[in-house]
Every structure is written in structure tokens, then in C-alpha cells.
Amino acid sequence: MIRKKFSHKRNQNKQSKKDVTNFDDLFHVMQASDDFKHFKLGNINNIEVFYYQSLINLDKIEVTLFEKLEDTKIDKIEVLENLLPFSETEITSDLTTIEDKLLTGYMGLKLTNNSQNILLIPAKFEVDRQVAQPEIEFSVIGPKLAFIEDINTNINLIRKRVKLPQLHVKNVEVGKVTKTNVAITYIDGIANQDNVDTIIQRISDIEYDQIMDSSFVSQMISDNAQSPFPQLMDTERPDRVSSALVEGKVAIVVDGSPHVLIAPTTLVEFFASYEDYFLTWPIASAFRIIRIFAVIFSVLITPMYVAVLTYHYHIVPGDLLGTLISSRKDIPFPPILEVLILELTIELLREAGARLPTKIGQTIGIVGGIVIGTAAVEAGLTSNVLLILIALAALASFTTPIYRIGNTIRLLRFPFIIFAQMWGLVGITIAAMFLVTHLLRLTSLGRPFLEPLYPPRWRDLKDAVIRFPFNVQGSRPVITTATDKHRINTNRTKLKRGKRK
């Protein structure tokens, strides 16, 4: 029934488009907008010029067009094309082309004879911020470049690093109204064609009117949209994207978004900072392990507090129990309420800090962190042990290199806290089991999300929890099922024995 309605509507749309049969009709539609300008030029005023003022670089018109066309007599549009010093010009009478081009920063020229042919001249008004430092995935060592909103600049940043003719870019237009340009980038001969086809298929199947950011695409094409876990990695680092492309993954660049999506991806990759590759492998591995520990700590510490102090105080050794009791003896709330109040405070601070301008945000941080924290303890509303734990847990949740997974981790602990309140440590185990099952069921582009842990693929463990040195990373990850599996000739990376230096 609904489908019928829609198809009916679609037909109507088609009909309304069909009403625009010639250029004059289109002209009328466009004229309704005030930034659509048109005037006549030339000696005998036989050249009609029209454009959207907001899309056009006005210098181009003023400097070139007026000078050249001031006193010319032209009766053929081809002559006009040759006369003007622009590249990528086009003569057409196709209405849809004219409409599209005019709306993407072209200028239209028409002779006042009855010809339907229109000369389109590119005069795009380019305004975009400069390529700047990454803000979310900042790294101390290594390149300091981040993507910006312009799609061409972003692809340029990738191409600069991957100098290969096999680097293919496939453009798809998505969004009924916004008609956003989405570029699917991959290296032909390395990336698995199935992955590329799946992504192109899913993106072209998107049925939505607006695509404002890559996260729109990400939510619409991920395997399980109900999951709190992101199944496509979004990054603002060109080096990370280039490296993923070389590994055989596929990148999705969306116009107007400074974040590029990478697929397929796995859970462990979300805990790998790109800086890990700039450090020597023992140090990088140590940092990775710290990060994974931080995540587990962040999810489990407050539920443990609730469980232990509500049910299993036997677990706590005598000396530690003294400390806990003395910090909690004046607290009027049960542990669960105490934890929920403080967790909520931290979430409030984070949310307020994220929404406010930087300078005010800092003030809020100081006010929240120091004033509210100390005051809450002094007023006897929360215990200072818990304050330390909550602050540590919040800190730990921010160690994830990808911001998106940090959010997931912060919210993940609330179900754990509830289960801990219900059944103590057993409850935490049950919650953990639900979480593991959920992760097991997740897939990214149909590939298991928990790989290489499960299904166990020992070869992929070389770059999972521990980042092994480059000379043993001889093959591309199994997860990408790359067409070309070998990265390097590992025979040549072996140290030559018996040779003195």
C-alpha cells in the first residue's frame, strides 16, 4: 500500500520534471531565486549571461568576460567558445546537464537567436578552509595533516601518498535532494572486488534525501545499524586511509565531510592509533596494551565498585576494606546511587564541554572537575575513592584513538552497572557475556568484527594486540581477503648472516 503511494508520488515527480520541456521553462524556475542573475552583453546585446551569484567566482566574469565580449559581434556559439580563454567548456542543449552544471558553479551563455544551445563555462567559487592539523586523531610524531570538507582536496591528499594509476575512484551520487558526491576509493589489484562491489551496491541503494556527512553513509551501509559499535572506521588522517588502501581496504570519501570511512574493519583496529606505526614496535605494542587495558578498566571499574560494595565485601582484604569504609561511612546513598550520580555528572561535564566554545569549555572543565568534585566529597555525597575511580574511568575512555568507539565505551558501562546491582559479580559476568555475544554476531561488510581473535587467525595477530616489526608484516591482513596477498618479499627482509659489518 505504502509502496504504491510512493510510486505514485515518484510518477508525479517525473511529470513535474517533464513540464520543463525547453530552456525557457527552466529559466523561469531558476529566476524565482534572487541570487540567480542574468544580463545581456555584447555590442548588440545578443549574448545572454546567467549564473547563480552565490556559486560563481565574480572575478572571472569581471576580468575576462567583459573585456573579451565588450565589442564583439558573434552569431555562432562555437565562435564564442573559441574566443573565451576557458578550459572545460561545453556546448549543450540537454536540460538536465544544464541544470546540474549551473548548480555546481558553471556560468551559462546563450545567444539570443532561437538556438537551444548553451555554452557552459566553469567559474566555480571555491571556498574551503585550509588543510590543517588533525584535531581528534592528533599524533605527536608523524605527519600533521587532516582531511577537510572538500572531496577533491581529500582525494588529492590520498593520491599524494599512493602514487599508483591503479588507485581507482568511483563516484556515486547519493541523497535525493542534496545529491552528495561520494567517492569509493580502492587500489585495483589489491582490494577484493567483492568488497568494492558490495560497498558501491550499498551506497547506490541508499534511499534518503540528505547526506550531510560521512557518518550518514556509515550508519546506512553498516551491517547492523542497531549496534552501538561503529562497524566502519572513520578517520581524519590521510596517512591512515592510504595505509588502509594499501592493505586492501576500501575508503569512502564523502563530499562535505572531513572524515573518511574505511571498510572492512575489526574491533582491535579501533584501539590502534596510527602513531603506533611511528614508534618502534616494543613501545608501540606497550601503548596498545595500555589502551586495551584502559578500555576494559573503564567499562568494568564502576560496576565492580557497585558489585563489591553492595554484595561481596568479603572479597576486599581487611586493610583495604578499612579505607573503603572510612571513605564511605558518612555517605547516605547505596553504592549504585552514588555511582549513577557521579557517572551522570561526568557525562554532563563531557557533553557541556563538547557543546561549548573552547574557552568556555575549559572553564567548565575546571569548574566541573575541581569544584564539583571536591564539593561533592566534602558535602558527603560521594566517597573520594569512587571519585578517583570515576575520574580514572572517564580518562581511560578517552584513550581510544577513534572518538566514535570512545562514546560506545562510555555508554557501555551503564548496563554493566545495572547488572552489577542486580547480581553482583555474577551480573557483571552475564553482562560481559551478552557483550561478547553481541560482538561475535557483529560483522563489517560481512567479515567477522572480532577477527583475528575469533575466528582465530594467527597471521592477523601480528598487527592486533601487539604490533610486530615491519619486516614480519609480510602479508596483507586476511580480513581484507586481498587479491594480492603479499606485501613484500620477506626473503629480502631477513638479516644476512655471516657477514661482518
Partner: protein
């Protein structure tokens, strides 16, 4: 034979048999089996563990022979040998047994939680959540069930380390002199022991779900041996730590042993231990549940999803009838008898029948 071929996305590599078989075998039994075997064979019961391990290894080999190159599963074989109707009936009885084990394992663990954690807990809601968890895992398909079992093995492996306390504090002299008990008792102690090693019969159900099944024999056998070793060391640890008579009065010797362990931040380890061991319980129960549902699904026309939800509801309601420690003991005992008959009686018999039937059918085909 009409073969059942699962979807390729649900199949797992033969290497994972190492984890699947181990996870099915290790369940609630590891916490209490020492009491059962020591009752009959005393300190010499460790010999029965090894004997049972050897016997079950033979059963594994027989299972591989039954399944054969065609990767036929239990249902196919039953229908091949006994005909459509009778074969289905046998499969139905078998799946009832699997379902009963799946729920008994859960209920008996709830018993432990009630005794050690929350004496006045509402078990109905708890059971409901656990069955929901099992349903959530099972509906993900075989690959998810195996994934869960895979992780559970690491947890039990971690917990097994904490038997070290018995080796540092125990007395090895307890075990000496060896062969103090009559051989008959050692043989008899194999009966309660075989309940702890139950789980290999599930291979018959999930055989088609394993890639290159024939090459998996080495993994299944090594898994069975590994389980035997785990039980062996566990029993040695408990025998070293406790007096022979004392063991009879402790329901769960391992938990009592964990009580002694303390760390700077954990005073009583058994609370952590019981919580973590639950993962192994869920893995076992889930594998049995999945296998049982697979049987039901194959012999009826219902979808896997529908039959699972229906049986989960039955499973939850089962707790209204099993509320007593004695009833649980009784059911466990019955199921262990059934399991033993199944392993050492029915499966070899099935092998012989299969040989005869395939021989007869081949002869007829040649004519």
C-alpha cells in the same frame, strides 16, 4: 543418503574442534567430580580418569568412522539405518536428552550461586535472563556458539591455574600407596567420571558444520586428551589437599580450595572464580541447547528460530519443577547413566548397524 549441507557462513575450521569439544566437556562437573569418583575409588580414582579418557578417545574415533567421508550427521544416519519414522523417533529422544542436559547444567549452577552468593535470590528471573542469553547466542548460528565456546576455554584455562594452591600446600603422600583400592572399584568409578567427559556425542550433530571434517580427528582427539589431563590434574590437586573422608562432605571441593587463595586486592578468590566459571557453564549449556534445537529443527518443519524460542520458554518453565537440591542430584545421576549408555553402548552399536546397513544397501544397489 540425503545429505544436509549447512550454509558456508555457518561452518568453522576443524582446528576449532579443539575448543568445541573441550568446552562441551568442561562444565559444572569440574567443580564437584572429585567427590563422586573418590566415593567409589578413593585416592586411586585418578586411574579411572585416565581409563575413561582412553575409552572416550575410542568413542571419538568411532564417531569419525560413523560420520565417514560424506559428513553425515546423526539425523541422516538414523534415517538411513532405521527408516524415516523410527529414525526420527530416535533422534527426538536423543534431542530430548540434549535439551535436558542443557537445562540441568544451568539449574545446577544456579544452585551454586544460590548457596554461595544469594540464598534468597529470585531464581525465576535469573533463569529467564540466562535462557535469553543462551537464546541470543544460539540464534546467531553455530559459528557464534563456537565463538563463545572458544572464549570460554580461555576462562577455564585461566581458572585452572588457581589449583596451584593445592600443589604448594598439599601433601603428595596422600596419593601413596598406589593401587590401594580393588580394581573393580576403579572400574566402577569410571561411571561418574564419564559424565564429566560427556560432550563428544555432540560431534555427531555438528559434524556437517565443520570444514574438512575428516582432518579434524586429530583435533578432537587432542581435545579429549587435554580435557582428561585437566581433570587428572584437578583430581590430583584435590586429593593432595583434602583427606579422603573429608572430600565426601564437601559438595564443591574446588570452591573450598579457592577460598584459601588470597591476593593483595582479592581476599576470597572463590567469588571471582564462581562468577568467571559461569562463562564455561553457559558455553556448555549453549552447545547442548543448539544441538538439541538443530535436531528438533531437522526432524520437524519448524524454523530454527521458532523452535528455539518455543523450547527456551519450556526451559524457563522447567525451573518451576526443579527446585530442590535432591531433585537436581537425581536428574544429574539419571542423565549421567543415560549418557554413559549412549557413549559406550549406543554409539558403538550404531557403528555396527551403520556398517551392516550400508553393506546391505550397497549389495542391493549392485543387484
Amino acid at each position: 543418503m540425503n545429505h544436509f549441507k549447512p550454509d558456508i557462513t555457518q561452518m568453522v575450521s576443524p582446528f576449532l574442534l579443539l575448543y568445541i569439544v573441550h568446552a562441551t566437556q568442561i562444565g559444572e562437573g569440574i567443580l564437584s567430580f572429585e567427590r563422586h569418583i573418590a566415593r567409589i575409588a578413593g585416592y586411586d580414582a585418578w586411574i579411572s580418569i585416565i581409563l575413561t579418557g582412553v575409552l572416550t578417545t575410542f568413542v571419538v574415533v568411532i564417531i569419525w568412522r560413523i560420520v565417514g567421508e560424506e559428513q553425515a550427521d546423526f539425523m541422516t544416519i538414523h534415517q538411513f539405518i532405521f527408516g524415516n519414522l523410527f529414525g526420527k523417533l530416535l533422534t527426538f529422544i536423543f534431542s530430548l536428552y540434549l535439551f535436558a542436559i542443557s537445562m540441568t547444567v544451568l539449574v545446577s549452577y544456579i544452585e551454586i550461586i544460590q548457596i554461595w552468593f544469594f540464598p534468597d535470590m529470585s531464581i525465576y528471573f535469573f533463569m529467564f535472563i540466562l535462557v535469553m542469553l543462551i537464546l541470543y547466542i544460539s540464534l546467531g548460528g553455530f559459528r557464534i556458539v563456537v565463538g563463545f565456546a572458544f572464549f570460554s576455554v580461555f576462562v577455564t584455562g585461566f581458572l585452572a591455574i588457581f589449583k596451584y594452591k593445592a600443589f604448594t600446600d598439599g601433601h603428595f603422600n596422600n596419593l601413596l600407596p598406589v593401587f590401594n583400592t580393588p580394581p573393580k572399584d576403579i572400574i566402577l568409578a569410571m561411571e561418574p567420571m564419564s559424565f564429566s567427559l560427556l560432550g563428544i556425542e555432540l560431534i555427531l550433530i555438528y559434524a556437517p558444520f565443520i570444514h574438512r571434517f575428516q582432518s579434524g580427528l586429530k583435533w578432537a582427539v587432542s581435545s579429549n586428551i587435554f580435557t582428561t589431563i585437566v581433570y587428572f590434574f584437578s583430581a590430583i590437586a584435590i586429593f593432595m589437599y583434602y583427606n579422603e573422608q573429608h572430600i565426601q562432605f564437601i559438595s564443591w571441593p574446588t570452591l573450598q580450595l579457592w577460598k584459601v587463595i588470597n591476593f593483595p586486592i582479592i581476599e576470597r578468590f572463590e567469588y571471582v572464580g564462581i562468577s568467571l566459571h559461569m562463562i564455561a557453564i553457559i558455553a556448555t549449556s549453549c552447545l547442548y541447547f543448539w544441538a538439541s534445537m538443530q535436531c528438533f529443527h531437522r526432524i520437524t518443519t519448524f524454523t530454527f528460530r521458532k523452535i528455539s524460542i518455543f523450547c527456551a520458554l519450556i526451559g524457563i518453565s522447567s525451573i518451576f519443577f526443579i527446585h530442590n537440591f535432591l531433585i537436581i542430584e537425581k536428574i544429574t545421576l539419571t542423565l549421567s547413566r543415560v549418557g554413559m549408555v549412549l557413549l559406550f553402548g549406543y554409539i558403538p552399536l550404531l557403528y555396527v548397524c551403520h556398517k551392516i546397513a550400508s553393506g546391505v544397501k550397497k549389495k542391493h544397489a549392485n543387484k
